[in-house]
Chain length 339, copies 2
DNA sequence: CGGAAAATAGTTATCGATAACATATTGAGG
DNA sequence: CCTCAATATGTTATCGATAACTATTTTCCG
């Protein structure tokens, strides 16, 4: 039942059908103040009758506004990132702004290609998850006319605005907790690759925090290339027991990895937390449900999204701020029975 | 370092800088055949020098092509849907087509609002996850000039094209397996609400399959409104034990729910599969890792995405098919130790 | 009732790239 | 040296909505 007839209905069609001008129709659609209520009603009803669909491409060109925001994420399959995207999307919906989504697959080169594509579309703002970019990406974006927001990290040299938290400091909270409860032989699982900057920061935070307690952070277990998930957690636990059999506390780069390790402990008869304390990162739903539930860091992934949405809307409506905005969120330590 | 200078660089600026026409610049950018290689090189290098960024809004208007596809999902946080989106995105990237994403939050009214918005943007195609729509949505889409594809279901009255699988038939496979292994007092957890049509179909499939074995499907346990996850699985198991304590096999509306139930069994000392067999749906990563790993149905969520991408590309390039396309995928039964 | 302000609507030009058509240049063959 | 085709480039009009400006009608006051 596709519209077979050639010409599509446009504003001027409605206008001539009613003997008014196209401009009046345009005004009616935008709810412009200076238009007679009855005229407006006639226009809207005629539009409905003709099956008119507003064409935003024309409007986009004329107004130099597109009404969407470009968003890159390493992987939309990660529940943390998708929570951010969801809240971002929900927040932007208040102003009818939509999201143009791109997956970088944890690859800065791919990110560069995607951003080059996205820029051509004139998004109202560009939101980047992560702070690791190629030089060319940085160059492109620093010249871009729209706001750029890096989220999920606290870059030392931000391109524009920032909504993030400190991965290092968050891990410190976990280490402190483990040490406080008597564990000394701590290991960290994951985050060894340059390809996963957030994981690497968490691992760096681990090393740093251990040093703060006068402990050596020698128990660093690799988990492979990002994205690492439950599968890598399970195999990683085996590797840990092989390399550092005396470990009494394990901090994992994410709850998914921690759960994989926990499940493997189950299979091997390792008691958690008696034999081994396990902590995750990210406060995924699974950490709340599994047995024992996981001690973790809640990074407030959804909040990052909603705060970003608020920041975008603020930037679009108000006057540009003198200095780039930087919003630092405080993750929370969540203590559960796995430690 | 924002571009402070007023005017943005456009094709005609490059053109006049080189003493050629804007048309030639346009041709150079699109790699048009009839253009001198040296001219083209000069244009591209001058564009680089001036920091030119192609403006697709103008191109969109003139060519009546936008280069993006609108996609609605109930929730991007669901790993199954996000896998579909990822593969869809990946597949469309081959032709530089991007995704405009919208979350319906499992609400047909919200879907209607979103689709009305998305339509104004002239997407090249519209992909809807799910087949439950309001009458107005159906009306809007059946008049829409671009291809419409419903995925993840096999609607009786499709709007346009379809890439999906049968939820009912898939659950039948699980029931058959349970019955074959001697279980008779089977329960189904979830899918009772009209708000979650896929869950409802799975539950209907359960009832149907039980009837096929001459068994009564009286053990239907509600899990609450979509989205249901691990939390509802855990509470649902308790409810099941209260309502139907003699149950010996539990089929859950998803792996997440099944895992929640499994974790609760752990806590209550219920042995799986000895006391209770548990099966999930969707083949999420968690089902492979948890202990015991879950019997489930692999619906090939990623494949749905890549097949949809192929279908979209085919529809955009070739001549429109005489009849709407309908691609039916076959989910696989995956047997693991939880049953 | 006169006149100014407010309310309402119309005209024209424009956003930037590109389709469609027109023109200029080159080169090969006779 | 000329013709015709192939190659390379230029001109003009256009996609559809809307900003900026102008014109008309109403309203409301002294």
């Amino acid at each position: 039942m596709k519209k077979a007839q050639g010409g599509k209905v446009k504003m001027s069609d409605i206008a001539s059908a009613l003997g008014v001008s196209a401009m009046t129709v345009s005004r009616a659609f935008r709810g412009d103040a200076g238009i007679n209520a009855r005229t407006r009603a006639r226009i809207l009803s005629k539009a409905e009758e003709l099956g008119y669909v507003f064409d935003s491409t024309a409007s986009n060109l004329r107004q130099n506004r597109t009404g969407f925001v470009a968003v890159t994420v390493p992987s939309i399959e990660n529940a943390n990132f998708s929570a951010t995207v969801r809240e971002l999307s929900r927040g932007l919906l208040k102003r009818n702004i939509q999201i143009l989504l791109a997956n970088t697959e944890y690859d800065p080169e791919e990110e560069e290609r995607l951003i080059a594509q996205l820029l051509r579309r004139n998004p109202e703002a560009i939101v980047l998850t992560g702070a690791q970019h190629t030089a060319k990406t940085r160059a492109l974006l620093s010249k871009a006319p729209m706001p750029v927001i890096e989220i999920w990290d606290l870059p030392a040299k931000p391109i524009g605005h920032v909504v993030g938290f400190s991965n290092e400091a968050s891990v410190r909270g976990l280490v402190d907790h483990m040490v406080r409860s008597g564990r000394r032989r701590l290991a960290f699982l994951g985050g060894e690759t340059a390809h996963d900057p957030r994981g690497a920061q968490r691992r760096a935070g681990f090393v740093e925090a251990m040093a703060g307690h006068g402990l050596e952070a020698t128990r660093l277990v690799p988990a492979g290339a990002a994205p690492v998930g439950m599968t890598e957690g399970a195999s990683g636990l085996e590797l840990m027991r092989e390399l550092f059999p005396d470990t009494d506390g394990l901090i994992c780069v994410s709850d998914l990895v921690a759960f994989g390790a926990l499940a493997q402990c189950h299979r091997l008869g390792v008691k958690v937390p008696e034999d081994l304390a396990i902590a995750g990162f990210g406060n995924y739903e699974i950490g709340r449900i599994c047995e024992p539930p996981l001690t973790t860091i809640d990074v407030h992934a959804g909040l990052i999204g909603s705060r970003t949405a608020d920041m975008v809307l603020g930037l679009l409506e108000g006057t540009p701020p003198a200095a780039p905005l930087r919003q630092v969120l405080q993750p929370d330590l969540i203590l559960r029975r796995s430690t």
